[in-house]
Amino acid sequence: MTLKDIAALESVQTLHPDFNADTAVTGGYTSDLLSDVMANADDGCLLITIQAHNNTVAVAALAGAAGILICNNRPVPEDMIASARREGLAIFCTPRNQFEASCMLGRQFGV
């Protein structure tokens, strides 16, 4: 599974183009506590969260996440998108909630 495949999922919108679409996505990590993400998220995961702000980009980059999926149609601020572009980190958004988004990704991985 790659970021290109994530972008192609139903109801997922890509918020900027400045990332490598062939980057492998190795799984998902669903959490709204950034300290938990920092401590426990795996390299290459897609971070599923509603924390739509700049700090999420820093923590996702530190944790080695492949990208971020913002749930519940939370508005994503411009400075967050700008930081993600600088990091080459993909940001997606979806109207689905964290449970639905996790199930959607889980189906792709046969979880």
């Binding site: 300290s35 920092m38 401590a39 924390q51 702000h53 820093a58 601020p77």
Partner: protein
């Protein structure tokens, strides 16, 4: 008197390395601040240097930290007594997660003396949430005789409102709000002192958002500061329609 209760020194991983306790005290004094707190993320290790620096510039210091609670709310815990602040530090450090500091994203975390000499570099990330809840931090702060003030409660991240959606009713000495929102929060919480703070991370930010506090007498201890804060609520009542 002008008070500024939220400042980060070079010890905080997100602060400029120029922010030595000495520079903070000197700059604050030059800007007319009289009461100033040092509040690094989850550590009071630069407070001994801050005490010495404040003495040089005749400032009243408060020793504290900005704790990241388990809920990822930032709260200020402040003491007039350095020993109490260091006791609070031991309580935090005993359970602090040891996540290595990544220098690609954060700066070094030096413990320094009042003359800017580096004593030690802390190698674990100080910004990580500690396994104590908001309520547990409040209780420990009270036990040690300190002030308990939730930071920037209406900011979009790491605030009581961003994490919990509301300010839990409780025993606060004040609430810090984002500059420009003081009047709105005074109306919303007429019983609480509402303050601004610089939350300085670099020299230019020192002394940018202080508030006025009236302190009675000469000894500016916690009790006097608490009374001064409570007096701020008189303004709330008079400005409440």
């Amino acid at each position: 008197m002008l008070a500024d209760l939220h400042n980060h020194s070079c010890l905080s991983p997100c602060a400029s390395l120029e922010m030595s306790p000495g520079l903070i005290a000197r700059t604050a004094a030059a800007k007319g601040i009289g009461l100033i707190a040092l509040t690094d993320h989850n550590s009071t290790r630069n407070c001994p240097a801050f005490r010495d620096a404040c003495k040089r510039y005749n400032l009243t210091p408060l020793f504290g930290m900005e704790i990241t609670t388990t809920e990822e709310c930032h709260v200020l815990t402040l003491f007039d007594d350095l020993d109490a602040a260091m006791e609070m530090n031991r309580w935090i450090a005993a359970v602090q997660p040891r996540i290595p500091l990544n220098l690609d994203y954060y700066s070094d975390q030096p413990v320094v003396d009042a003359d800017d000499n580096i004593i030690e570099l802390l190698t674990y990330f100080l910004g990580q949430a500690v396994p104590h809840s908001l309520e547990s931090v409040r209780r420990q702060t009270r036990l040690l005789g300190g002030l308990f003030i939730p930071s920037h409660i209406n900011r979009h991240s790491f605030s009581v409102e961003s994490q919990l959606g509301f300010l839990p009713p409780g025993d606060y000495d004040a609430i810090e709000v984002v500059p420009g929102t003081v009047d709105a929060y005074r109306r919303r919480y007429p019983d609480l002192p509402v303050i601004t703070a610089s939350d300085s991370h670099c020299p230019e930010q020192i002394g940018t958002w202080p508030f006025h506090i009236h302190l009675e007498g000469q000894g500016h201890d916690i009790a006097a500061i608490r009374r001064g804060l409570m007096n701020l609520t008189l303004n709330n009542l008079s400005s409440t329609p």
